[in-house]
């Protein structure tokens, strides 16, 4: 079986990039979210990292993560524009079409909505010639947009076709953002949905302890919040979201397990979502592969 609607994230696994990509592919995924650090930190250099991704046969869901971009002034702004350009170029080299941008957590960031909208618009225009879309993501300890709902307001105000949202299920689980808020969002504006479960019943808010974010996330269906996730995914499906669900999972345990075992867990999560949650028929064969083959 090849999963069309679900993707893994290289950050979920340990080991060399090539081993991660191979594990993702063996587990039946057709796409993968790439962390810029994986490419830039490749022991063979950036070019080797790019070649590894292109050779993997996997489509690139997107590139992460541009941080603390919006709301800066003067030389800080110019510096971040340079960082953004570098990530957009990398994204294009990887043939990725999406850059994830987290709402700023910088204490230097201006929280004036006009300034934020202006910066997001400029970022969206920067991305156009590179054929990249910008997925803006709320972060619970951000001063500008703490969840998908407030990020969505900026996206709406900026009103650029290639600027949309990345929605993290964690907003629902940890921050208890009302699920009804999703209905206020145009599904066309949702560029990516990131899914993870949480091992414990009590989810620490990221605002109280950002460290929890990186340590206890598990694949959907593996944690204590399967029902909430199931409701969340069905709600998005009903809304008309037909994009990718990317598993945004990091934890210390997976960093000590072989990538194939981690990818196997991701596969079970995808099967659970597909068959039990979304109750979809068996997926059609790998659409990405078909697209590629018709183009050659």
């Amino acid at each position: 079986m090849i999963f069309r609607d679900f993707g893994m994230d290289t950050a979920s696994m340990a080991g060399p990039l090539e081993a991660k990509l191979a594990a993702v592919r063996r587990a039946g995924f057709s796409q993968v979210m790439i962390s810029a650090t994986e490419i830039v930190g490749h022991p063979g250099g950036v070019e080797a990292g790019i070649r590894a991704v292109r050779a993997s046969g996997l489509a690139v869901t997107g590139l992460e993560m541009l941080r603390d971009f919006e709301g800066l002034d003067g030389h800080l702004h110019a510096y971040k524009v340079d960082v953004a350009k570098s990530m957009l170029e990398l994204c294009q080299e990887l043939r990725g079409r999406l850059l994830i941008v987290e709402a700023s957590t910088s204490s230097h960031a201006n929280t004036d909505p006009d300034a934020i909208v202006r910066d997001l618009r400029a970022l969206a225009i920067l991305a156009i010639p590179k054929r990249v879309r910008i997925a803006y993501k709320g972060v619970s300890w951000s001063r500008t947009a703490s969840d998908f709902s407030s990020a969505g307001e900026f996206v709406l105000r900026a009103n650029c076709r290639n600027l949309g949202l990345a929605i993290d299920a964690f907003d629902i689980l940890a921050e208890k953002i009302p699920l009804d808020d999703i209905d206020a969002i145009d599904p066309e504006q949702i560029f990516l949905v990131q899914l993870s479960d949480f091992r414990w019943q009590a989810v620490y808010s990221m605002a109280t302890n950002a460290a929890h974010d990186t340590r206890f996330r598990v694949f959907p269906g593996e944690g204590a919040h399967s029902d909430d996730l199931s409701t969340f995914v069905n709600r998005l499906d009903t809304l008309g979201y037909d994009g990718v669900y990317s598993f945004d999972v990091y934890n210390d345990d997976y960093q000590q397990m072989p990538p194939d075992l981690v990818a196997g867990r991701a596969r079970r999560a995808a099967e659970w979502l597909e068959e039990t949650v979304l109750r979809r028929a068996l997926p059609v064969p790998n659409m990405q592969g078909l697209r590629r083959s018709t183009s050659d």
């Binding site: 225009i125 920067l126 010639p129 076709r161 697209r291 590629r292």
Partner: protein, 300 residues
């Protein structure tokens, strides 16, 4: 400067924030400049000047300037074979080039480092489609950028009349699937281009979205791949120049006598609304479009 008045005549309002006033030149990049020059001469262009220090030539007819750039460093990296000429840039006439450049850069345009440009004079430029550039020029008319960067070729007519009143009508840009809205946003936000309704059509090529320049003197046409090619790997690029002419049929006849061949397929063939040349040198094509709006007086 002699053209101050004319610059100020360009409306400085929200509809034309940069004071755009037409296309100053269109640039090709190719490693085989003589071959392309031959084609341009058949179309009625004349080599006018050579760059002082670079492998760059200026061709002209009527109001149109075409720059042929064969600097090795400026040749596109993604086009194969490398000798296939590509449309590598167009230059917008604007009220104040530096101000225009700073404005669009602040809005999210990519600036191009000076060393990568065909001109030595500081002609600011930004990234356009694919590997192409968009320049901003504010010196035109009597005192021009060519006076500084170029040596005139001795004993040539520097203002040759245009065959059939040919003038720049527009540029066709091939874009990726579902990319029309992105590029409409790009051109309308940065430059003030206006998308035209689908009912407005020029020439014989039916597809694509038309954007009118804020000065209303030329068009950009955005064309997405046909359904069958939606997933083909294609880099976005500037594909061809459209020339306006008040009488397509007689201009086609004049150009055919000079050795230009036009497509005669069932789907695409010459009529009084327009014509399309057969591709040459790989994929170089030109389009003729019926346009009576700008009949240019012959230069004195």
């Amino acid at each position: 400067m002699t053209n101050v008045l004319e610059h100020e005549a360009v409306p400085n309002d929200g509809l034309n924030p940069l004071g755009i006033s037409g296309i100053e030149f269109i640039e090709f990049a190719t490693s085989k400049p003589q071959a392309l020059g031959g084609v341009l001469e058949k179309l009625g262009f004349r080599p006018i000047a050579r760059h002082r220090s670079r492998e760059v030539e200026l061709y002209r007819q009527g109001s149109m300037n075409i720059v042929v750039n064969s600097q090795p460093a400026d040749l596109p990296h993604t086009v194969h074979p490398a000798e296939t000429p590509v449309l590598s840039a167009f230059a917008l006439r604007v009220r104040d080039a530096e101000a225009a450049f700073q404005r669009v850069r602040d809005m999210g345009a990519w600036e191009i480092p000076v060393r990568a440009r065909a001109m030595e004079l500081n002609v600011p430029a930004i990234h356009g489609a694919g590997e192409s550039l968009i320049y901003f020029v504010d010196r035109y008319d009597e005192f021009s950028i060519y006076d500084i960067d170029f040596h005139a070729i001795p004993s040539v007519e520097t203002k040759p009349a245009a065959i059939g009143d040919l003038h720049f009508f527009g540029i066709v840009q091939y874009i990726g699937a579902d990319r029309t809205a992105d590029w409409v946003w790009f051109y309308s936000q940065l430059f003030g281009f206006m998308p035209l309704p689908d009912s407005v059509r020029f020439g014989i090529m039916p597809r694509g979205l038309l954007l009118q320049s804020p000065c209303r003197s030329f068009f950009l046409q955005l064309i997405e791949p046909e359904d069958s090619a939606r997933f083909a790997a294609m880099d976005e690029h500037l594909q061809r120049i459209g020339f306006g002419t008040p009488d397509v049929l007689s201009t086609v006849a004049l150009l055919e006598k000079r050795g230009i061949e036009f497509l005669t397929s069932e789907k695409v063939h010459t009529n009084d609304r327009g014509a399309l040349t057969k591709p040459c040198l790989g994929s170089v094509m030109f389009e003729l479009v019926h346009d009576e709006s700008r009949i240019h007086p012959a230069p004195q």
